[in-house]
Symmetry: D3
């Protein structure tokens, strides 16, 4: 599927941490690691595993901007 989401960052899965219903998946996009919080069900369905190629996908309206430290 081709998606409207403006941000589709290619990387490699570096961690999959499963909780009771919610998992945290970390994707190294080269220079930065993105943390994603998705359902356990999605992790199982996509068969997400450390070392796998994956995209971190974010809608533009979910990105804030920060300046300074």
């Amino acid at each position: 599927m081709k998606l409207s989401a403006r941000n589709q960052l290619k990387g490699k899965v570096v961690e999959v941490l499963k909780g009771a219903t919610t998992s945290h998946v970390r994707i190294d996009i080269g220079g930065a690691v993105i943390t994603s919080s998705i359902t356990n069900e999605a992790v199982d369905e996509l068969g997400l595993k450390v070392g796998q190629e994956a995209y971190a996908v974010v809608k533009a309206s979910d990105v804030m901007v920060g300046v300074g430290d």
Copy 2:
């Protein structure tokens, strides 16, 4: 302010496109460009300009994962 958001990606503003009420701001994080959709008011208040250092900030629950092409 120190923020709970798991994803705070440092980069440089490469485009600021103002609409009627909503602006699109693009931040080059090195290897990828992140698009953010924020209010015009926020752009004015932060004084966002091309060339400026800025962070793209995303909550983990707003990051999806995609696999395949």
Copy 3:
């Protein structure tokens, strides 16, 4: 791309309304019409047009539940 988003509802585009930077796209999923607010850029890139097959895609953490009237 195969996506972690739990909700991928197939339908037909019934309206594309472009604003200054933000478009509203309506997708009839059969029995209900879903309204999506995305960037003009995404509309152009996907070539969205009335009559086209498309999916409304929503992350589970963005769905609330309501009861009563």
Copy 4:
């Protein structure tokens, strides 16, 4: 309450899965099943149970569009 959210899809609860702090609620809207991820507290407060009428509520800015397969 009358809500600004553009998408209020009527259906029936078909599953309530409670985790440690987060529940997954599935609502059959006729032809499609919507998955929602909400707090356990919200599940208790609304008294959500399988078989109950409920709405899946989604803000337009949280809906992406996908095309192709």
Copy 5:
């Protein structure tokens, strides 16, 4: 409708600013003013006007936490 959203803050509309497709609505909740970005269509449908009682509604998963200055 009774909603799962954990945050339903009662206040008074103090500004309605319409753009091409997106409006900004400000609600004074007593001590703080909340800014909401919703569709023009929602503004029309709810008949939102300055001085009116209204709720700012936010899902818990859309609230971040910040500390320090």
Copy 6:
């Protein structure tokens, strides 16, 4: 960091409830209590504790408007 998010509500942490991967943090902003759902990791990193000063931070596009009861 100075943030684009329109809503940065100052208050005091009144509850921190940790789940398997997701925590619920409640912040009393004076007159109202805001519930936030964030990662356990964020709670640890910010050292969030009851009694601490904190901000509830919400992007304008994540705020809906409700009218009536």
